[in-house]
Assembly symmetry: none
Homo-oligomer: 121 residues x 2
DNA sequence: TCACAAATGAAAATGATTTTCATTTCCATA
DNA sequence: TATGGAAATGAAAATCATTTTCATTTGTGA
């Protein structure tokens, strides 16, 4: 195993605590940092092992890395213009927890997103 | 778009209603059915569009297709073995509706999924 | 300084999925 | 029945994220 390159973590933070390996890599490139894509992948994997970040999957299958302990929230996204509202998910948090307990699941996470057409669209 | 090849659906059923495109393809090959991988992918996609199957992601990113009833529901998925439980989402339905109203969104849909480790894993 | 382990990254390999495109199968209508 | 166009098919190539290889560089303690 290898240790995580600290610049990868700080870039993930700067990206809003939520990005794919490719996105972290491109962001670092744009900022003029010299790093290899391989190192980005290895560092993110190492952060996952250390439980410093979570890994989820986008709908298209790309892995996205999420800083743990980040202020957890959900999104309301407009299908028309892409406008996004960050929303509180209290009801969902409870629901996820209840369901997981009921079926004996551990180390539980969840995804939830609402999409529709905003007033302007 | 194209219509689903009926043999793909019946193979998915025979596979226990839960398999990846590659697995459906290999199964059909083994059974001596002549079909192209492309057609398997297209048929599964079409079944997803028609809401006859759900699509989820394995931990490794591979898409798995799952036959499901037409009633709206959500999933509790094991990150370890892929085992899936269909669950009721009453709390979520209400939450999505409330949030959408609050922000004036129309034609609203949502996604929600819980993942963790099941008892055996 | 030296030796050795860890870190790095370019390039190649992998593997699922999508795209291309030429061919075949259907089907409605004359 | 013949025929023209639309839909379906699949082999091969392209795509794209991710992993593996491997040679090189860097760091560190003796
Ligand atoms: Zn909008
Ligand atoms: Zn939540
Ligand atoms: Zn399990
Ligand atoms: Zn729902």
């Amino acid at each position: 195993m290898s240790r995580s390159n600290p610049k990868v973590l700080s870039t993930l933070e700067r990206a809003g605590g939520f990005a794919s390996a490719q996105e972290v890599y491109r962001l670092m490139q744009r900022e003029g940092q010299s790093i290899g894509l391989t190192t980005v992948y290895r560092s993110l994997q190492s952060l996952v092992n250390d439980k410093i970040v979570d890994v989820l999957r986008r709908d298209d299958g790309e892995a996205i890395y999420r800083l743990c302990g980040d202020a957890h929230h959900h999104h309301l996204v407009c299908k028309g213009c892409g406008d996004t509202v960050e929303i509180e998910g209290g009801a969902i948090e409870k629901w996820a927890k209840t369901m997981a307990e009921e079926f004996g699941f551990r180390e539980v996470g969840h995804t939830a997103e609402i999409f529709g057409l905003c007033q302007r669209c």
